[in-house]
């Protein structure tokens, strides 16, 4: 019975995972979290971090991997598994954060080169302050706008689908999305100028 249940949850190949990342596929994120997080947590624990550190490092690492996949900085190669890459990114991130033993960090960076990436182009880390600021501005939008934008840009739902959910014509939904983006743009870039 167990065997059957396990079998029903198919193993995802690296290709599946990579494409899943590009599509913001929810199941892919869950799969990676379940599979890779325990390894990262163990690693961070071993390097002296706590549960919350592990969680932060993993999420930042996954976001960085996702961004790199989208920008083309990270590409699938025969000798690198996606999960290996992610674990390395997280480990590197943790060492960078703690600035522990700089020689060890250098060593880690060399390892990353072996994995097939120069550290300088490896990753644009999620800048927490920037994203926090964006979040604050984003929340100033109406809930409806937030939902429309999230559905379209993150969940990658079609305009047709979104229109159906909100009981609108396709054209109306498209216009509404445009207006929401204009509003967000105005709020966000105006606030940036105040800095």
């Amino acid at each position: 019975m167990l065997r059957v249940l396990q079998k029903s949850k198919k193993e995802l190949t690296d290709q599946d995972l990579f494409e899943g990342l590009l599509q913001n596929d929810q199941a892919t994120f869950e799969y990676l979290y379940k599979k890779v997080y325990p390894m990262v947590r163990q690693q961070v624990h071993q390097l002296g971090g706590q549960e919350e550190d592990a969680r932060d490092v993993f999420q930042e690492g996954l976001i960085a991997t996702w961004q790199n996949a989208k920008s083309g900085k990270f590409q699938l190669q025969n000798n690198t598994k996606l999960s290996t890459y992610l674990v390395q990114v997280c480990k590197w991130r943790w060492l960078e954060k703690t600035k522990k033993a700089s020689s060890r960090l250098e060593h880690q960076m060399e390892e990353m080169v072996e994995v097939g990436e120069a550290p300088s182009v490896l990753t644009r880390w999620l800048e927490k302050e920037d994203q926090q600021k964006f979040q604050t501005q984003f929340e100033k939008l109406s809930e409806r706008c937030q939902e429309i934008l999230q559905r379209f840009y993150f969940a990658k739902e079609s305009i047709h689908h979104i229109a159906k959910v909100f009981g609108l014509e396709d054209k109306t939904a498209k216009n509404e999305k445009y207006r929401c983006m204009q509003r967000l743009k105005k709020i966000y870039f105006n606030s940036s100028m105040d800095r």
Binding site: L5, Q26, R55, Q59, E139, L184
Partner: protein, 247 residues
Amino acid sequence: MNQEIFEKIEAYLQGRMSVEEKEQFQQQLNQDPGLQKIMEEQLALTNAIETEGLKNKLNSIYDHQFGTHKQKGNVIFLKRFRPILAAASVALLVLAAWLIFRNTEQPNEQLFSQYYERPAGLPTTLGIQTNEAFSEGMIEYKLGNFSEAQQFWLPLLAQFPENDTLQFYLGINYLELSQLDSADNYLNKVAEKEESKLRMNAKWYSSLVQLRQEKKDEAFSTLSEIALDTNPFQAQASALLEELSEN
């Protein structure tokens, strides 16, 4: 900026342009630094929206899978993003449903006919089986006249509302008549009777009804129960489970 430009930039960024359109647009970009800047802003915004979505998604996965401790930030986050979380979970449900049902319509029907074998019926000698109406119904059932059988059996329910043999054959009869909800209803009553000799039979046929109803999840769990127990349907249930998990 007008909407036309906005949509054009979006089509470009999302790779929805033809080769020609793309070349033309790239030329436009090269010639117009203003347009270039608008595009970069748009890209930055959509990236930020996506990142925000992913951040929320990861937080909620963590809370579901690993969250044994509460963080202050999370509570605020949950409150603020309830609508988005709700949307995300709906999207997730839709996705899950899609994953489960996408290519099962045909195969399930096939599996059903592959595994379904009508119970032969009873010799009419014992208990309710000595009842004349029940016997008449059983004869019709064996002849494949299910509507007639039903006319004999349904009135008996008033007299023997909890009789498992009656419930079981009524369930099968409804299944033969393709009235799946009623079939499921009667078979379930028997499947819930701990002491009934027909309990496992009822479970087995109930799983087949669920399969025909495209309730793959329910069929899966019913079959699992059968496969875990020693009974005459164990092997069949295991085999069907294997097939189900493959398609």
